[in-house]
């Protein structure tokens, strides 16, 4: 309460502080030469950029590569401003410094309505909120890769850092050559003058370092050579020859392999244990019990000379697993309870406009529907692992993590050492999807490594542990009603969703000092609904935050992942109730959302909306904004052997300025297939606190044979970039569901849509 009052108070008085807000944040995050100390391989010009002796650039890279292409997109910004070929920007790991914190992530958490966020027309409230949250986020300086924010956060910052470095280098050249800086030219990392002098950046780095930083402006759009091109990804060579190293690939001398079991239930713990048989398994070295105090469930680890020997040891271990102390969790019971609270409680209104009660009673018709979405696991391809070495009061860890600061903190807590005694290496991530925004897997590895006299330990979670002990996408329910006028257009929209809020639980786990006695409102619970783009004069869009006891976490597109299904299915219901074409109906409601209308028009035009299809096929459409990007999906669907089959998906996207259209298309394809796996098959069932699914045979995901053709089309835009890691995911489910309605006449209001072969391999 106290903290909330402080924040709101600050927002109220913040208007006076907005003056000068524009350029300052970038300047304050530029860092100094000492942030990125000079090393043999180059001379630092600021906290981001070091110039190599050969004139190339070394860029401090605080964001992790998990498939989203950020190790290509961010260097592109720097190569553009420094007039260098992309290949000459090399990445070096960023240290744990606050300038590398992700500020955009925190700004995006502010629950403002899009009408207040339009670039250049931001409301005073919004500017003030951003000012205070930005300041806090810069102080906090948390390096996080998530929330589709890497390019959003780096967009101004990295271009400013590179443009500043370029100005310093050219300034040094001008001084040395005694020529006016305005007459110098820079191309491919070479500075030249028409009178003859030519030299690469490396020759000016020493002179440039420490020269005053003037306020430079990044290049105008018209001068871009690299931004906007489909530059090939920089990380693919190692990904096609097996040399790319992921966390699970770390191999160290004397390393011992550990395999973790956390038992059959969420929150259970090992009781009586007979270790004799396990220790008799050849290759097994020892059995270590993990308490519940290391940031994860309690469990047992078998250490052995290989992962396989450890698994054999685990199979031979006799453990009597104790059930969790809390009330047993049952996902079916939770779904019933969620629907009840969504019907009975008013919840917290994230959007309230007009008079919904009056509009509903005056409406010609009223439509109501209830939608359900299940729990989901992440199931990234690389199983969870962490490698740790503890010796001489120092801890070294290798972890595929989206939250390096949390990983270091978890290691320090587990080992009882200061954070400065922890060295972290982050290899490639074999997928993240939000699972690795929790660092729960670090503590146990460090604890086990404290038992091995300095030998490094690689602790692996078998796939079964990954599925059964995830932080799940929360189950959700939406109770929705709309009042329609005589023409079938909605005059009121009432949405009450219910489900666990992810952010407060995540803060409790990862930033416990920030967790208050009550949960603050979590925008992610209502995102995609409270900010829906359709013009309805009376709206009340609310959420009831529940506490199911299920461990919940961020899952690609978070609240959008189910809220788009609720909202975009329901608007389709309204279109059909009005007897209107679903696209025309949407367009009629988008008069005040031209950006959305444009995206919808492009997708439907490219998909041939309205044109004839082979018998047995139907199209469905969805439109959804998330993470600052607007996407429309048109899915062509048939039903084969009782199961939906998606043949073709046409997407249009307005993600603002496109840094790399090749990577954006990849992310659309990726998001569509990830969302389609969830829409057709994804469900986690919990019975007696035991997750029923455990591996791909019973948690099926899309395979090649089920993958549709996917097209991506762009609406040109000069807005700042929006996020792209997640926006491809939310709308594919409703697009398919809407197509199925066209085929069957039955509205699917519960996910997953497809038949699920639960339990059978």
């Amino acid at each position: 309460m106290k903290r909330r009052g402080f924040v709101l108070g600050a927002i109220g008085s913040g208007a006076a502080l907005i003056v000068g807000w524009g350029a300052m944040p970038q300047r304050s995050r530029l860092g100094t030469r000492s942030t990125l100390p000079a090393q043999a391989d180059g001379i630092a010009l600021n906290g981001w950029i070091r110039i190599a002796p050969d004139g190339g650039v070394l860029l401090a890279m605080p964001r992790v590569e998990m498939g989203q292409g950020v190790h290509t997109a961010l260097p592109m910004l720097v190569a553009e401003e420094l007039d260098l070929p992309l290949a000459r920007v090399r990445l070096v790991p960023a240290a744990a410094e606050t300038i590398y914190g992700n500020v955009a992530l925190f700004l995006a958490a502010l629950p403002f309505h899009p009408s207040e966020e339009e670039p250049g027309r931001e409301s005073g409230r919004l500017k003030a909120g951003r000012w205070i949250v930005g300041k806090l986020a810069r102080e906090l300086g948390l390096s996080v890769t998530g929330g589709s924010t890497s390019v959003v956060d780096a967009w101004e910052l990295l271009r400013y850092a590179a443009a500043t470095a370029r100005a310093q280098l050219l300034g040094a050249a001008a001084l040395q050559w005694k020529l006016p800086v305005s007459e110098l030219n820079a191309e491919d990392g070479v500075v030249s003058h028409s009178s003859g002098p030519r030299a690469h950046y490396g020759q000016f780095a020493a002179a440039a370092a420490g020269t005053p930083v003037s306020d430079v402006q990044p290049k105008p759009r018209s001068a871009w050579k690299l931004i906007g091109t489909a530059a090939p990804r920089t990380d693919l060579a190692g990904k096609v020859d097996g040399s790319a190293r992921y966390g699970i690939d770390v191999r160290l001398p004397e390393m011992v392999y550990g395999v973790l079991s956390m038992g059959p239930t969420l929150g259970g713990s090992p009781g009586t244990m007979k270790t004799d048989a396990a220790l008799r398994v050849s290759g097994v070295e020892r059995v270590v019990q993990i308490g519940g105090d290391t940031g994860t469930n309690a469990g047992v680890v078998v250490l052995a000379r290989s992962t396989w020997h450890a698994r054999r040891g685990l199979a031979a271990l006799e453990v009597e697993w104790r059930p969790p102390p809390a009330r047993l969790i049952d996902s079916e019971r939770i779904a019933v309870a969620l629907e009840a609270v969504a019907r009975e409680e008013r919840g917290l209104a994230f959007r309230s406009r007009g008079d919904v009660d009056a509009a509903e009673s005056a409406a010609a018709r009223r439509i109501e529907a209830v939608y359900h979405a299940p729990y989901l696991a992440h199931a990234a391809m690389e199983p969870i692992s962490c490698t740790a070495r503890v010796a001489g009061g120092k801890v070294e860890i290798w972890a595929s993590t989206q939250v390096p600061d949390f990983a270091r903190a978890a290691a320090a807590i587990a080992a009882g050492v200061p954070v400065d005694a922890v060295t972290l290496h982050v290899p490639y991530l074999g997928g993240g999807f939000g699972r690795r925004l929790d660092a729960d897997f670090v503590g146990p590895a460090v604890r086990v490594a404290m038992e091995t006299s300095g030998r490094p330990v690689q602790l692996i979670w078998p796939r079964e542990e990954d599925i059964r002990h995830d932080f799940y996408r929360p189950a959700g329910v939406a109770v929705m009603s709309a009042g329609l006028d005589a023409n079938g257009l909605p005059v009121s929209l009432r949405v009450t969703t219910a489900g666990d809020a992810v952010t407060p639980r995540w803060i409790e786990r990862n930033l416990p000092w920030m967790a208050g006695p009550i949960d603050l409102p979590d925008k992610t619970t209502s995102e995609g609904l409270f900010d829906q783009p359709y013009g309805v004069p009376n709206q009340r869009i609310a959420h009831v935050a529940t506490h199911s006891g299920v461990p919940v976490g961020y899952w690609r597109s978070v609240g959008h992942s189910h809220n788009a299904f609720f909202g975009e299915s329901f608007i389709d219901e309204l279109a059909h109730a009005a007897g209107r074409d679903p696209v025309d109906f949407r367009l009629a409601l988008l008069a005040d959302s031209p950006r959305h209308a444009e995206v919808l028009r492009l997708a439907t035009q490219k998909a041939g909306w309205g044109s004839a299809l082979p018998a047995g096929r139907a199209r469905g459409v969805a439109l959804h904004e998330s993470f600052g990007s607007v996407v429309a999906w048109v899915a062509e669907v048939s039903i084969e052997a009782g199961v939906p089959r998606v043949h073709r998906v046409v997407c249009a996207v307005d993600c603002g300025t496109v840094v790399n259209p090749g990577i954006v298309a990849q992310q659309i394809e990726s998001g569509v297939i990830f969302g389609l796996s969830a829409a057709l098959h994804g469900r986690i069932d919990i019975v007696g606190s035991a997750v029923q699914q455990q591996n791909f045979p019973d948690y099926p995901v899309l395979k090649m044979a089920d993958a549709p053709r996917i097209e991506t089309h762009f609406v040109p835009s000069e807005r700042p970039p929006g996020g792209m890691g997640e926006p491809g995911t939310p709308g594919i489910g409703p697009a398919v569901a809407n197509a199925l309605f066209g085929l069957t006449g039955v509205r699917a209001r519960k996910l997953p849509l497809g038949a699920v072969n639960s339990g059978s391999p």
């Binding site: 998990m66 020859d241 990234a380 394809e669 591996n695 993958a707």
Partner: protein, 188 residues
């Protein structure tokens, strides 16, 4: 011909070697496997990753469901996470590390880059090995044959690009001079 058949049928084949030092041929190199660190029942995947430290071959599910562990044994794509060492015997094993080389990449590796296939990349070793085995047997696979042959899982959703990359190399066998084709063969 799937790995599961191999695993089931092959368990007893090499029993007589149990007492001898085990030898494994990987990527054209013979490896003596010390008795104390391996076991005839140990799946090939873990021998590759944890004993020989060839980490390009990935663990994804351990139950032959995802294909991240796909390698070639005697030219056939197999899921090494369920293939015991005893079933491999003296058959040559080829892993992603030897699918091509830096100077002479496999045509599929070039196609993978041309089509910008990988995202996180974790499943791609298995995808490439499965695709290479398919093309070696069927130089002109249809989409349906690709779907049937490549049942590997990718969570980043690279399937459409994988299909396009394979199709870009697929060509009717008689139409192409043999010299232009590079059938992926296990090294001697």
């Amino acid at each position: 011909m799937t790995l599961i058949d191999n695993a089931g049928a092959g368990v007893c084949v090499q029993q007589e070697e149990r007492d001898a030092r085990m030898e494994l041929s990987v990527n054209g190199q013979a490896h003596d496997l010390p008795d104390e660190s391996v076991d005839p029942a140990m799946p090939l995947l873990w021998v590759l990753r944890d004993v020989l430290q060839l980490t390009g071959t990935k663990y994804g599910c351990g139950v032959a469901a995802c294909g991240a562990c796909t390698v070639h044994v005697a030219g056939q794509a197999v899921r090494s996470c369920v293939l015991p060492l005893s079933a491999v015997g003296k058959q040559p094993v080829r892993t992603i590390e030897a699918l091509g080389s830096a100077v002479a990449p496999h045509a599929l590796q070039r196609a993978w880059i041309e089509h910008q296939v990988p995202q996180c990349g974790y499943c791609q070793s298995g995808m490439l090995m499965a695709a290479a085995a398919l093309l070696a047997q069927n130089p002109d696979p249809s989409d349906a044959q690709i779907d049937a042959a490549i049942t590997n899982i990718c969570r980043c959703g690279t399937y459409p690009r994988i299909r396009a990359a394979i199709r870009s190399l697929a060509r009717p066998a008689p139409a192409v001079p043999a010299a232009r084709r590079k059938p992926p063969k296990a090294k001697p």
